[in-house]
Symmetry: C2
DNA sequence: CTGAAAGCGCTAACAT
DNA sequence: ATGTTAGCGCTTTCAG
């Protein structure tokens, strides 16, 4: 209220003529005080502008009221992660919980972050911070499996394999004979699943696999180079599936420069949908990862685990979909 | 180490045969203990796997070691904000500081977040949470001015007006006679500046202003509708500047459907650059907002203010640029 | 150079 | 139904 510094619980108690405990109980609905005193204390607290000190509460209760969210630095440009983040934040807000961003950009110098649990979006097995988090004592929920040898407390899974198969089937139905995959590296469950699914599918369907792998976070120019090289080396390719976010849009100019007509002599699809793909010419078919829902699901699972309502080792499925657009529909 | 629960400072002190104080000082380089004891204590702490309790430290020191970051919910899909976020997080990590995400999605029920200061990315004057934050006692740094009547402790400013003028000049040089602006609403300093600058420029250059305003967070279909209507009503328009992020790419199909050829009979530009604009056909000219740098600048200013190295009321300039692409270059 | 004690603001056990 | 007391783990006087 005035310049006396922050108003403490003691100040409220004193002003209300009750004890610390009673004030505390009144403000937290502990059901220990009479309705009359409760109202009185609340009124006084409001008048004084009381605001509880979260650090004190955390110290006392041994919980922080915040969860951590880790995203691999190399992937962070994408719209996918932005939505994922807000899925997590949104769900956390419902639980009255803060979300703290953790990155791998800087060495894990920091002792411990003040979090009760952590959500890992697409943990890279090569990421030291991810390892540290998984080895630490706080519960961790990952979006997709961790490909290394640590056990998160919870996992939210989407069936990327199934959707990619659907996509490949769709391309084949549309007449594609020579389908190539511009793949992401296998340091991620997602990247690994896509590669394996593609190779399996080719095998099962007696097709020659044409796979070009790229590291996560490769600049778009590298994606373009790969595709240029691919088309040069194997001009018979008549369908291209791009795994990395942003790749499909980025290679469009290259495909055109190579004289290809998207949707006609070359079908193009992406494994990550984004608004940009809706407005290219033609719009590009993509797997819809529903990132916001995935983020929310991760947060929900983490809270369930923290509350003891889900056992450690729980994994939950998160549906994804396929959005067909003109880039894979001839005519 | 074992299952004894977290290792406390007392445990370390005991194991090292020193007092709490000495252990604390040794681990924090307070320059009070001899080098020998310091090394010893550090060794013991490492062996035991000591990790300081941030809540306790916060409580004692009356600081949290975290800053808040608020983004308007309606804008959060964009690549701009993703980069902005990581600019802030990156800079904060350098200062050994966590970043907590704050949103307006849910009512400001939460008492107080555990933060020492807050960065507001493009504060909407209509946002209740923004108001609350600005009225609270924690220092606030905004990216762009707050258009309401509150005074943030610091402001990071970019000269959007100047760049838009450059862009308009560039369009005029390229022969555009009838330049329209697809504008964002004026609840934001940025949106307001763009509108005013455009209207001024038209006035000064004796041109008829053609401005269509849209609310923040409008879906792309609304943007498209606006442009369709604009072209119908004023077919003489030969250049279009799009303020909202994502609008330029989204209206491309509409422009084509209207029989326009971008870069020929219609010049197209965006006030917000993004990777998508580099790969459209043709690539689209845009103002480069350098979001990552802006985010870092906000965090830096906030830390300077918190450290008392910058006075309240400081504002700092953050350079932005113009990236000319084929959409505004005839031939 | 180091130790002992006080206390940050809060909640939980134990009294009334 | 309410008050008293004892810490949560840490940093900071104040004494040696």
């Amino acid at each position: 209220m005035s310049t006396e510094g922050p108003v403490t619980l003691i100040a409220v108690a004193k002003a209300a003529g009750v004890s610390k405990t009673t004030a505390s109980d009144a403000l937290r609905n502990s059901g220990r005080v009479s309705e009359r005193t409760r109202q009185h204390v609340i009124a006084v607290a409001n008048r004084l502008g009381y605001t509880p000190n979260p650090s004190a509460r955390s110290l006392r209760m041994a919980t922080t009221g915040a969860i951590g969210l880790h995203l691999p630095e190399v992937l962070t440009r994408s719209e996918y992660y932005m939505s994922f983040v807000f899925g997590v934040v949104d769900q956390a807000a419902r639980m009255n919980c803060d979300v703290t961003l953790l990155t791998s950009h800087h060495p894990p110098s920091r002792a411990t972050h003040r979090v009760d649990g952590v959500v890992l979006g697409d943990p890279l097995e090569t990421d030291a911070v991810v390892r540290g988090l998984l080895d630490s004592s706080v519960p961790v929920v990952t979006c997709e499996r961790f490909t290394g040898d640590a056990e998160p407390a919870g996992v939210v899974l989407s069936d990327h394999g199934a959707q990619l198969e659907r996509l490949l089937g769709h391309l084949a139905d549309a007449g594609a004979q020579h389908i190539a995959l511009l793949a992401s590296s296998t340091v991620t469950d997602w990247g690994r699943t896509l590669q394996r699914t593609y190779l399996d599918w080719c095998e099962r369907n007696g097709r020659h696999a044409r796979l070009r792998e790229m590291a996560f976070g490769s600049p778009t120019t590298v994606m373009q180079d790969h595709v240029r090289a691919l088309l040069n080396a194997e001009p018979e390719v008549d369908a291209l599936v791009c795994a990395p976010d942003g790749a499909a849009a980025a290679v469009l100019p290259v495909l055109r420069a190579a004289g290809r007509t998207i949707g006609e002599d070359l079908l193009l699809a992406s494994c990550v949908d984004s608004t940009a793909l809706r407005y290219t010419d033609p719009p590009i078919t993509a797997i819809d990862l529903r990132p916001r829902e995935a983020g929310a699901a991760c947060a929900r699972l983490l809270f369930d685990i923290l509350a003891g309502e889900a056992p450690r080792g729980t994994s939950r499925a998160q549906p994804i979909g396929l959005t067909v657009r003109r880039s894979t529909v001839r005519g």
